[in-house]
């Protein structure tokens, strides 16, 4: 090869060369090829957007009652019908979505951050530190989480953000266990030893070498946690610890819909649809993400 064509080649390759975190860029590139995942992603984005602007676009107020009207099936004025108090269901589902999505994402994010960090440190440290850290998880796990949440509510007063944090603080325990198990087995790999012999610090090894390889189960578990916390919120609200009427969330709407399912099925069907389509979208996105971040998954 002549030196001229050699340098041309370098330039060509260099032009396409991604800098830095190429796994994430590569992952994004691969995610875009996955139609189902992209549809899920767009659906979620749209939902979030609509929920953000709800106060300005909702056809009625969420507390606006029309007792004379009562529960009517879907019609031109009330697209998704009304509940027994004559409140517009579309409006209530939109407002409910604000709470449910916020709970789903914030509480899961809290669980993710605490759980992954905690699990990774325990799994990497091993030995006594690991033992102590995991026994602490066992203790938390054994405590009834209701007491913990009620205590929080009593001490700090009822507060939506606190509710999110409290739910997250309960959910991180399982995440920590999953991550710790993953990290523990990945630690035995020789590339970790290679990283140590290059002189990398433990934190760099955890974040650059171990976390990306443990990400598959984490993503799958995350997509399972989001619906979990949405339902947990409904349960807490039912006990009077979560949000209070006239505010609502999908969980609360569904719980109410179940009671009146025989007379007014639309009170269950529409909030149910909202929740299940969201979960579908989440799962498609989650599966897509898992494959996109695994270079071994088929590449075309």
């Amino acid at each position: 090869m002549t030196s001229e064509s050699g340098s041309v080649e370098i330039i060509n390759i260099a032009l396409e060369m991604p800098k830095g975190t190429s796994l994430w860029k590569d992952g994004w590139h691969r995610l875009r090829q996955n139609k189902l995942a992209i549809h899920g992603f767009s659906y979620l984005l749209l939902l979030i957007l609509i929920c953000l602007v709800t106060p300005w676009i909702a056809p009625y107020g969420y507390e606006e009652q029309n007792l004379r009207l009562g529960a009517v099936p879907p019609s031109a004025e009330h697209w998704l019908g009304t509940d027994t108090f004559g409140r517009d269901m579309l409006t209530r589902i939109l407002y409910g979505g604000r709470i449910s999505l916020a709970v789903g994402f914030i509480a899961t994010a809290v669980a993710l951050i605490i759980g992954v960090t905690y699990g990774a440190i325990a799994g990497y440290a091993g030995g006594k530190i690991d033992n102590a850290m995991m026994r602490l998880v066992d203790i938390f796990y054994a405590l009834p989480y209701m007491i913990f949440i009620i205590l929080l509510m009593v001490v700090f007063g009822r507060n939506l953000l606190l509710l999110f944090l409290a739910i997250g603080a309960v959910e991180w325990l399982v995440m920590a266990r999953i991550v710790r198990g993953q990290i523990q087995s990945l630690r035995q790999q020789e590339y970790v030893e290679a990283a140590i012999s290059l002189g990398l610090s433990p934190l760099a090894i955890i974040f650059k070498h171990l976390m990306p390889n443990a990400i598959g189960p984490v993503i799958v578990y995350t997509t399972l946690t989001i619906p979990n916390v949405m339902l947990l919120e409904a349960f807490l609200s039912f006990l009077g610890l979560g949000i209070q009427p006239p505010q609502s969330s999908w969980g609360v709407l569904i719980a109410y819909g179940v009671e009146t399912m025989e007379e007014y099925p639309w009170l269950l069907i529409f909030p149910g649809l909202a929740l299940s389509t969201t979960l579908f979208a989440l799962n498609f996105l989650g599966d897509g993400l898992r494959d996109a971040l695994d270079p071994k998954a088929s590449r075309d």
Binding site: I10, A194, L198
Partner: protein
């Protein structure tokens, strides 16, 4: 008539990325009581050919396109799954490569052994158990009656392989397919297993189809040899013909891949690069058990620009020694002096500036590279960490590294799984030399690779050692490989150094029984006795 006749067997895999022609029209006969060896690199289709005869290739994606496999008057390819099950184990059985994974860890040896007797002959448990004891004795396991109740983890690798052989023999098959049965074993154990197979075959008049990537392994046992490449037999003939008069280029290449002596030039300085004195490394044993002394009072000096070969069986402590020299393990006592600093008590932060001066190459290129990092990221990491170059010169530096280790530049953005074993090892070597180290520990860097690839990697290492003035501790269980590139050899057994000396001295005049046993175990040495001096790669006793 031959016991097994394979005619024009063709197996293709229909995958999403197109058709893979794994086996392409091979034909061979296996005579009763003879050994037929199939030699080829990984991916050449040799295992697929044998497994498809017994319906063990997953279909789809696999599909048998054509061919006949005649055994006892019936075409195996036309049999139903039910009928095939009667042939498996009883007519034709298989010995798998890795005895660590081919035994179920949750079943006692005895229970696994008698499984096929109960299946094929409907024996009751006591009779089957008795038969199991006999067969264990036959494959050379002592106290067979008690060992039947042992768990797989209580056996060493060689012993496990004996159990696997016993399992293959127990239903008295006519043919045994041995799929790389010794590749995962140490040389001395390999020699024992090969001898055992030969004995069993003669005693029971069984035919063996022996699959291997290494011609020298089958040199003592094969009657007929077929050399396979890309799904085809490129050469086929009796042993003498293949070894004495190979026709096809590929066969010649395989023969040449058996490493001959190729010492590097005499450039060793008198200055010690690394010296160990009274080094002891202990691991805590199980609860209530004594500590395990993996390295026992080793004193050793590695000179500047020397390649020191460290030889020993698995479990002899050679990897532990290598890792403690690099302070990947903390020594229990003794000194490790690297470039005139005693690093045996250094902390992680004290070690960091030294890390770039000492590097390691690992055995298994499938686990030593992070599967989620491209070649670019893998090589960039040490370069940026030790500030060997800045972001601007990074690309050029990475390309220079790839050139040094012989990787194509356009593969820079690929992930490890897209490379072959040999290329992966090149990436790992690139990472090791990226920090411009002065000392490298290479822990069995070629034992996971095919023979033809082995010699390429060894040549690359030799070349790099010369070019970058490296000192190297080369760990291997394969004396042939060590002889190829070492200046000096030390032999390790049970954590102690039992012999050391120049390559010539150790090979021609070993002073320890253990070293002699290691030398005797080198496969294929008989083959080369009497050949011309240049090709006497692994000959031992003058």
């Amino acid at each position: 008539m031959a016991l097994l006749q394979v005619q024009d067997l063709t197996v293709h895999f229909h995958t999403r990325n197109g058709i893979v022609e794994a086996v392409n029209g091979i034909s061979f006969d296996v005579e009763a009581g003879k050994t037929f060896a199939i030699i080829g690199e990984s991916g050449s289709g040799k295992s697929v050919a044998c497994y498809s005869m017994l319906g063990l290739v997953p279909m789809p994606p696999g599909r048998i396109e054509s061919g006949k496999v005649l055994f006892q008057g019936q075409d195996l390819l036309g049999l139903s799954e039910r009928a095939l099950r009667k042939v498996r184990g009883k007519g034709i059985s298989i010995i798998f490569q890795d005895p660590m994974t081919s035994l179920n860890p949750y079943l006692k040896i005895g229970d696994q052994l008698i499984e096929s007797l109960r299946q094929h002959f409907g024996m009751n448990k006591n009779t089957a158990w008795q038969k199991g004891v006999e067969i264990l004795e036959e494959v050379g396991i002592q106290n067979a009656a008690q060992r039947m109740n042992a768990w797989p983890f209580e056996f060493s690798g060689g012993m496990r392989q004996r159990v696997v052989i016993a399992m293959a023999l127990v239903a008295e098959p006519e043919i045994i397919i041995a799929d790389e049965p010794t590749t995962a074993l140490d040389v001395t154990v390999q020699a024992q297993i090969l001898r055992l197979l030969k004995e069993l075959q003669e005693r029971r008049n069984i035919s063996v189809i022996f699959i291997s990537h290494d011609l020298s392994v089958v040199s003592d046992i094969a009657d007929e040899i077929a050399v396979m490449q890309n799904g085809k037999f490129v050469e086929q003939g009796d042993r003498e013909a293949i070894f004495r008069n190979p026709q096809h280029d590929y066969t010649k290449k395989l023969l040449a891949a058996v490493p001959a002596t190729q010492k590097k030039s005499e450039t060793v300085d008198a200055v010690p690069q690394v010296s160990l004195s009274n080094l002891v490394v202990e691991f805590p044993g199980g609860k209530g058990q004594e500590k395990i002394r993996a390295v026992d009072n080793v004193t050793l000096e590695i000179k500047h620009r020397e390649i020191l070969g460290l030889v020993g069986e698995s479990g002899s402590g050679k990897s532990t020694l290598g890792r403690s020299v690099l302070r990947l393990l903390a020594p229990t006592s003794g000194q490790v002096v690297f470039e005139e600093q005693d690093i045996s008590k250094y902390s992680r932060s004290q070690m960091k500036p030294l890390r770039r001066r000492m590097q390691m190459i690992f055995q298994d290129p499938y686990s030593s590279l992070n599967p989620r990092m491209t070649v670019y990221d893998t090589l960039a990491e040490p370069l940026l960490l030790h500030q060997i170059c800045n972001r601007k010169t990074l690309d050029a530096e990475i390309f220079a590294l790839m050139d040094s280790v012989g990787l194509p530049r356009e593969s820079v953005l690929r992930y490890p799984h897209e490379f072959s074993g040999g290329q992966r090892q090149r990436i790992a070597i690139g990472r090791a030399i990226s920090t411009k180290p002065s000392f490298i520990v290479a822990d069995e860097p070629v034992s996971a690779l095919d023979v033809t690839i082995q010699s390429q990697i060894l040549d690359l290492l030799l070349d790099l050692v010369k070019r970058f003035d490296l000192t190297m501790l080369f760990i291997s269980h394969d004396l042939g490989v060590v002889r190829y590139l070492s200046d000096r050899i030390v032999v390790m057994k049970d954590g102690r150094l039992v012999e050391s000396g120049s390559v010539e001295a150790v090979f021609e005049n070993p002073s320890e029984d253990y070293t002699r046993a290691l030398l005797d175990a080198i496969p294929g040495k008989r083959l080369f006795v009497g050949d011309s001096a240049e090709s006497v790669g692994t000959e031992t006793i003058p």
